[in-house]
């Protein structure tokens, strides 16, 4: 089955589900909260989502904590931006109706279409991404429904978190905030108070999820929320691979994005979480662009559990993101593979934390930072061996590549060892593109820009090959596109 069909049918179901949505949208005034952040807004969000009492209280408690900390917005990251006016933002608006979107691809901005073309995105998928209203006739048997049937047969739950709150309240209540506590950091506190969207995944014991769970397939995920909240639970002996985001450029009117992602892996379970982030980075002068302030953390609670993060970060004006692993279970494994590309005036401060608590835990960090234009890219990582983490190992490699002399690449690794029998290895290099390699490519008739793209792709290979198939091909092209205009 072709991707295009999947998406088309997926989209169709979205239309099919519309009545429910329409019921929501009739009164436009009541469906968007007025700008501002106060208890009423939080009650409004909670009641819109018909949430149980405990969650409302949870949100209010978070808001209370956030109010007290409103002056302690973190300033340690190597990024700079004008102060965010939290009071002026709008914290709830109903998903946009597809009817208002363009009627066909001909109405879509040709620049955007060009980019889709370069990425090799199938036509049907392009329509979905551009928000083209698709005729519901397309579809009789929804593929998404087929997927859902297959998943539910195995007992896998994959739904929006707001749905999970209603249908699987006990699970959500048990795990929500257990990996990223409400007061973990400024933005996670804010998210806890106002989150509106996100995924919930539950994989029961012994189940190997037969397909990559992508936000593509989650029907209402076309508009990713501003304050996403994702929770993934893998019961003993289970496996799940989750894909987030997409390679296509995403535009959003909300400047601040503060998502929280929590992963829990129990005995022998494995979670693979892949992200491709390509939010609007702002224009060449650095106007606009998304502030992507994300807290992602996975807890390897069970013995021999494994959590693997892979990320390709090319978008956003500012990225502030440290997907981490708490290696609690004996023999658990954490991995972090990252590519961060910054161009023009983008700023990225990203990295990971590997906290080794259990015995014989292992972690591996491969980070590739590429800075071009006038951008700044920072790797910030922590590897900590607690005193009980006997026989544990870490290997870290973080390489930076600089294109041009206006950009900056920074590496800030924290290495803490309280255990004699564990070993930590860290390597880092910073360099520019090898002239010899460039010359070799040029000599064989490859244009300079293509040659740079080729070399950068080689530089990132170790990370790219960790991505699931469907992402990997597009991600390679994305790497090249992100660097356009940075050479020569």
């Amino acid at each position: 089955m072709k991707d295009s069909e999947i998406i088309g049918r997926d989209e169709a179901e979205l239309i099919a589900n519309k009545p429910y949505e329409y019921g929501f949208v009739t009164d436009i005034e009541a469906d968007s909260a007025p700008p501002g952040l106060n208890e009423d807004i939080i009650r409004f969000i909670s009641s819109k989502k018909s949430e149980p009492e405990w969650l409302l209280n949870w949100r209010l408690n978070a808001f209370d904590k956030w109010k007290n900390a409103v002056d302690s917005e973190p300033d340690w990251a190597n990024v700079s931006y004008p102060p965010i006016k939290f009071e002026e933002a709008c914290y709830y608006s109903a998903p946009k109706s597809k009817v208002d979107g363009p009627k066909s691809l001909e109405e879509v901005d040709p620049e955007l279409l060009k980019t889709y073309e370069k990425l090799g995105i199938p036509l049907r998928e392009q329509e979905m991404l551009a928000g083209v209203a698709v005729d519901a006739v397309f579809d009789s048997v929804s593929v998404a429904t087929t997927f859902k049937d297959k998943l539910s047969e195995l007992g896998v739950i994959f739904c929006p978190i707001s749905e999970a709150v209603k249908n699987h309240s006990d699970l959500v209540r048990k795990y929500l905030g257990s990996v990223v506590p409400v007061t973990d950091n400024f933005y996670s506190t804010l998210n806890s108070a106002v989150f509106t969207d996100g995924s919930f995944v539950y994989v029961p014991e012994g189940v190997r999820c037969p397909m990559e769970l992508s936000t593509y397939f989650r029907i209402n995920a076309a508009n990713t929320g501003q304050f996403e909240r994702t929770l993934i639970i893998a019961e003993p002996d289970s496996y799940v691979s989750y894909l987030e985001g997409c390679t296509a450029p995403m535009r959003d009117e909300n400047q601040l994005h503060a998502a929280v992602v929590e992963l829990v892996a129990l005995d022998n379970a494995e979670i693979k979480y892949s992200t491709v982030q390509n939010w609007y980075p702002g224009d060449e002068e650095g106007n606009g662009g998304i502030y992507n302030f994300v807290t992602k953390r996975g807890a390897c609670r069970g013995n021999n559990s494994k959590i693997s993060w892979t990320q390709v970060e090319t978008g956003s004006a500012i990225t502030w993101k440290y997907p981490s692993c708490i290696l609690q279970g004996d023999g658990s494994v954490g991995e972090f593979y990252s590519i961060a590309i910054t161009n023009n005036l983008q700023q990225a401060d990203t990295g990971t934390k590997m906290v080794h608590i259990g015995k014989n835990t292992k972690s591996r960090i491969i980070s590739k930072g590429i800075a071009a234009g006038k951008s700044n890219s920072t790797y910030r990582g922590l590897v900590r061996m607690q005193s009980g983490a006997s026989g544990s190992r870490n290997y870290t490699q973080c390489d930076s590549l600089l294109l041009g002399n206006q950009c900056g690449a920074h590496t800030i690794p924290y290495i803490e060892s309280k255990n004699q029998s564990s070993e930590i290895e860290h390597e880092a290099t910073t360099s520019k593109i090898n002239e010899d390699q460039l010359f070799y490519c040029r000599q064989r008739g490859i244009g300079e820009e293509d040659a740079v793209a080729l070399i950068v792709n080689g530089f990132c290979r170790e990370v790219l090959q960790e991505l699931p198939m469907e992402f990997a091909v597009e991600a390679q092209k994305l790497v090249a596109i992100s660097l356009e205009g940075s050479v020569g």
């Binding site: 973190p74 400024f186 803490e416 004699q420 930590i424 880092a428």
Partner: protein, 416 residues
């Protein structure tokens, strides 16, 4: 974070407050707290509780003849400081060679230059003497010049502020060995400041040995400015003191200058040692290296931090950092942070860090050759550190440092 009150970046320091007030200075009497990034791993809170007195108010041991005592590892040329106070040279020692000048400078009271660095601010305001050593142009001198910082306390804890400026004029070349030694009945805090200025083509080899008594506290700050083609080599061995911090700031301001920092920690008991350095590459074509090795026993803790800054102009920079630590005990702890901050594209910058225990396979190999476990371990520790000590060119200084290493091994052997 902290959804509560932000942690204060200052620790109240009543002694310093009072001492500065006496000079009419109303600010600056505080210590940096662990909320400050560069002090994240070293906590000075215990200093704040000690009722120090200024070292300069106490008369030194009148019977002491620094030129005759063996414990100062006499080199032929010495400059002697007791509790931070410079001991007039003529009384004890042969005259310094031609071209080397020692001056006492005026104190810079209420100096605001270091307002942001409270430790330096205290040093500038509370030091007994400011000593300037000038090495004249084209002076080349092979014999090391020894700076002895000898601290002596009786019943009261003292705060001691050595303050030395070293200027190497054009084309000069010397070796300096800085030794921090002590004899104490109660604790002291030595807060030293060494300001080094290397002019064109100057070359300084700077060896440092902290061999203060256990239970003493020491913070040391060096500021190094380097001009065209200058070379700076520093080898620092941290062995004594219960709390030790060595902070080095190097600015490579002239092309083709080179800076090599070697740091070694040999720690026991509850010792805490910290090496922190910032190397700023401000011009093209400079080379810098920071190599750290630490061996930690018992409950000791080591901190190794370094930051290499490469400015936009500093193309063709070659900067290396390599940190290696060995933990010999389950309670030892090491924290390292090798940072890079790079704004130029045509550079070669790398850092590496490796922390672990002795290699079991290597121990097994040695045991299979008939060595017992303890001897095998000691052999491996020696091999690990000797690579570092081999960087010391001057045979007398190497012998002195290796002697300290032998002491440490002996103590280690007794323990295990």
């Amino acid at each position: 974070m902290s959804t509560g009150v932000t942690k204060s970046k200052k620790i109240e320091f009543p002694y310093a407050n009072a001492a500065l007030l006496k000079l009419g200075v109303t600010e600056g009497g505080f210590l940096p707290s662990t909320a400050e990034e560069s002090w994240k791993y070293t906590n000075l809170a215990r200093l704040a509780k000690i009722p120090f007195e200024n070292g300069n108010t106490t008369n030194y041991h009148s019977n002491l003849d620094p030129s005759s005592s063996d414990k100062f590892n006499n080199f032929s040329h010495q400059l002697f400081f007791i509790n931070g106070k410079f001991i007039s040279h003529d009384n004890f020692f042969p005259p310094l060679p031609m071209g080397i000048k020692v001056d006492l400078l005026d104190k810079k009271s209420n100096n605001n230059e270091y307002k942001n660095n409270s430790l330096l601010f205290m040093n500038q305001n509370l030091c007994s003497d400011r000593v300037k050593i000038t090495i004249g142009a084209k002076i080349k001198f092979n014999e090391p010049i020894s700076l002895i910082f000898y601290n002596y306390t009786k019943d009261k804890p003292l705060a001691i502020y050595p303050n030395v400026e070293i200027v190497l004029e054009e084309d000069s070349n010397i070796t300096i060995i800085e030794q921090h030694l002590s004899e104490t009945l109660s604790t002291y805090w030595e807060n030293s400041f060494i300001d080094i200025d290397l002019h064109k083509n100057a070359e300084l080899k700077h060896y440092k040995l902290n061999n203060g008594c256990p239970d003493t506290l020491s913070t040391s700050y060096s500021n190094v400015l380097q001009d065209l083609n200058s070379k700076y080599l520093c080898f620092n061995l941290a062995y004594g003191s219960t709390l030790y911090r060595n902070e080095t700031h190097v600015s490579l301001n002239g092309e083709n200058s080179e800076c090599n920092l070697y740091e070694a920690h040999l720690l026991n008991h509850k010792q805490h040692a910290d090496t922190t350095s910032i190397i700023s590459h401000n011009v093209p074509n400079c080379i810098s290296k920071k190599l750290y090795r630490g061996v930690l026993n018992d409950n000791s803790r080591a901190v190794a931090q370094a930051k290499v800054k490469v400015s936009k102009l500093a193309q063709l920079t070659d900067a290396q950092q390599l940190f290696r630590g060995i933990l010999l005990s389950p309670n030892a702890e090491i924290n390292t942070k090798p940072e890079l901050e790079i704004f130029a594209d045509d550079v070669k910058c790398s850092h590496g860090a490796a922390v672990g225990s002795l290699d079991e396979e290597q121990i097994f190999y040695l045991r299979s050759r008939g060595l017992n476990e303890s001897a095998s371990k000691i052999l491996l520790i020696e091999a690990f550190m000797n690579e570092h000590f081999a960087m010391i060119e001057n045979p007398r200084i190497r012998e002195l440092m290796l002697g300290v290493f032998d002491n440490w091994i002996t103590i280690h052997r007794k323990h295990n």
